[in-house]
């Protein structure tokens, strides 16, 4: 079975720059040099990153990361 593609969105207004996402999924998230808030590197990460991206969503202390399945592009 092919896993559905994921669509990641981030909300820099909510982000508090704890850096958990950068540690958990460094290929998908970075931190801005200006204010330390989240920078989304890949809004449709490859399947091998999915587990890390979901973990980053759970660990984010401010709820600034949303991950949803994108059935259209499976």
């Amino acid at each position: 079975m092919v896993e559905n593609a994921l669509k990641v969105t981030t909300d820099t207004a909510r982000c508090i720059g704890a850096g958990m996402c950068v540690l958990t999924a460094p290929k998908v998230f970075d931190q801005s040099e200006d204010d330390g808030t989240v920078v989304l590197l890949d809004e449709s990460p490859p399947p091998e990153s999915h587990a890390d991206v979901r973990r980053a969503e759970r660990l984010c202390p401010s709820g600034a990361i949303s991950v949803r399945e994108d059935p259209g592009t499976a």
Binding site: I16, G17, A18, G19, V22, L23, Q31, S32, E33, D34, D35, G36, T37, R55, R58, L59, P61, S62, G63
Partner: protein, 399 residues
């Protein structure tokens, strides 16, 4: 049986051993994870002990961190000072939007990248401390010689304290953290540190460099009062916490030789070992504390507007509903998701720095002294049971 609300408990104290939380906490977490609790001033509020309840409250903006709304569940000499709004810059006791403004300015200075850049300096600092220990002799207090100075020197590095001033800074801050200091000593040391920060701010204004304080100053948004208070905040938050993790963490590993052996056999376990130590030791063993801004129902209990709730991170981190075999220290057990750095808007700003410090310092210590052991019987190690940050008072070791 459900107890009536009139029977409010008081904050549980008293550990059966240095690594086990007060047993009452586990019973409460099981029976009534959000429970009425009487505070020392007689007011009745709440205590939350389960992982879901603690995490939910930390994430909920209806719970405030404003200093003037809070209460402290243990006798606290500075309670009167708590009852007014936080001083400018002391954003850990503020809510949005005041909190947001300061947090944003500091977040930019505390990126994962910046903390990783500090790694070589942390390595050098730890190396110097180990050299000094080794030279000074076969029995040393690990707290005084290793656990306290490393975070202190790292803060100096971060703030850009000139080398020539570091001895003075360390001396004054050591008085603040020494449990035997008198009130007069502490007042004098506070004044010295305040004067120290004032001079440092002046210096950085004149000659900005590549450090956190210069970064904040050149941003131009903060007054000298705010900058001085933020300096104090970083010192308070970054020194005693990491120091106690290094001291208590070493004690824990020495008392769990199988875990220490596992770490020595596979150094790649260090990242998870640090998370597991953070979870298992839960050095923030009293709070955090929040106040409800409106009536909020948590876990079937109605917390009324204005009521204060103490969140037992130490109980939450041992919640068997969240962590497997939580009362066992197991450095291979996935420990991420622990609440030791808090959760929500106020989650620890310096957590990545703390991680880098621990990931660097623990392996270096155990590499340098392969035969490190306690120099006194374990039951004689004095604990910081009544301090806001738990740990060992001193840890005499030999090698």
């Amino acid at each position: 049986m459900t107890e009536s609300h009139a029977e409010a408990i008081t904050f549980p104290f008293g550990r059966p051993d240095p690594f086990t939380p007060p047993e009452r906490l586990a019973a409460l977490r099981e029976e009534r994870p959000v429970t009425r609790m009487t505070y020392p001033d007689g007011r009745v509020g709440w205590l939350a002990t389960s992982y879901p309840a603690v995490r939910a409250i930390l994430a909920d903006p209806r719970f405030s961190s404003r200093r003037e709304l809070l209460n402290v569940p243990v006798p606290f000499p500075l309670m009167q000072e708590m009852r007014r709004p936080a001083d400018p810059g002391m954003f850990i006791r503020m809510d949005p939007p005041d909190h947001t403004r300061y947090r944003r300015l500091l977040t930019a200075q505390f990126t994962v990248r910046r903390m990783k850049q500090l790694e070589p300096r942390i390595h050098e600092i730890a190396e110097e401390r180990l050299d000094a220990m080794e030279k000074a002799g076969p029995v040393q207090d690990l707290v005084r010689e290793f656990a306290l100075p490393i975070p202190s020197l790292v803060i100096c590095e971060l703030l850009g304290v000139p080398y020539s001033d570091r001895a003075e800074f360390q001396q004054a801050t050591a008085v603040l953290l020494n449990l035997e200091s008198t009130v007069e000593d502490i007042r004098a040391a506070f004044a010295r540190v305040a004067a120290f920060f004032a001079r440092l701010i002046e210096l950085k204004r004149a000659e900005p460099a590549d450090d956190l304080l210069s970064g904040l100053i050149t941003g131009g948004e903060l007054t000298d009062e705010e900058l001085g208070n933020i300096g104090f905040l970083l010192l308070a938050a970054g020194h005693e916490t990491t120091a106690n993790m290094l001291g208590l963490g070493t004690f824990a590993l020495l008392q769990h030789p199988d875990q220490l052996a596992a770490l020595r056999a596979d150094p790649s376990l260090i990242d998870n070992a640090v998370e597991e130590l953070l979870r298992y030791l839960s050095i923030i063993h009293i709070g955090p504390i929040r106040a409800a801004l409106e009536d909020v129902e948590v876990d079937g209990e109605l917390i009324r507007a204005g009521e204060v709730v103490t969140l037992s991170v130490q109980a939450a981190n041992r919640d068997p509903a969240r962590f497997t075999d939580p009362d066992r220290l197991d450095i291979t057990n996935p420990a991420s998701g622990h609440l030791t750095f808090g959760h929500g808007l106020h989650q620890c700003l310096g957590q990545q720095l703390a991680r880098v410090e621990m990931r660097t310092a623990f392996p270096m210590l155990f590499d340098r002294f392969p035969d490190l052991r306690l120099a006194i019987p374990a039951q004689e190690v004095r604990m910081r049971d009544t301090m806001s940050i738990y740990g060992v008072r001193e840890l005499p070791v030999r090698w």
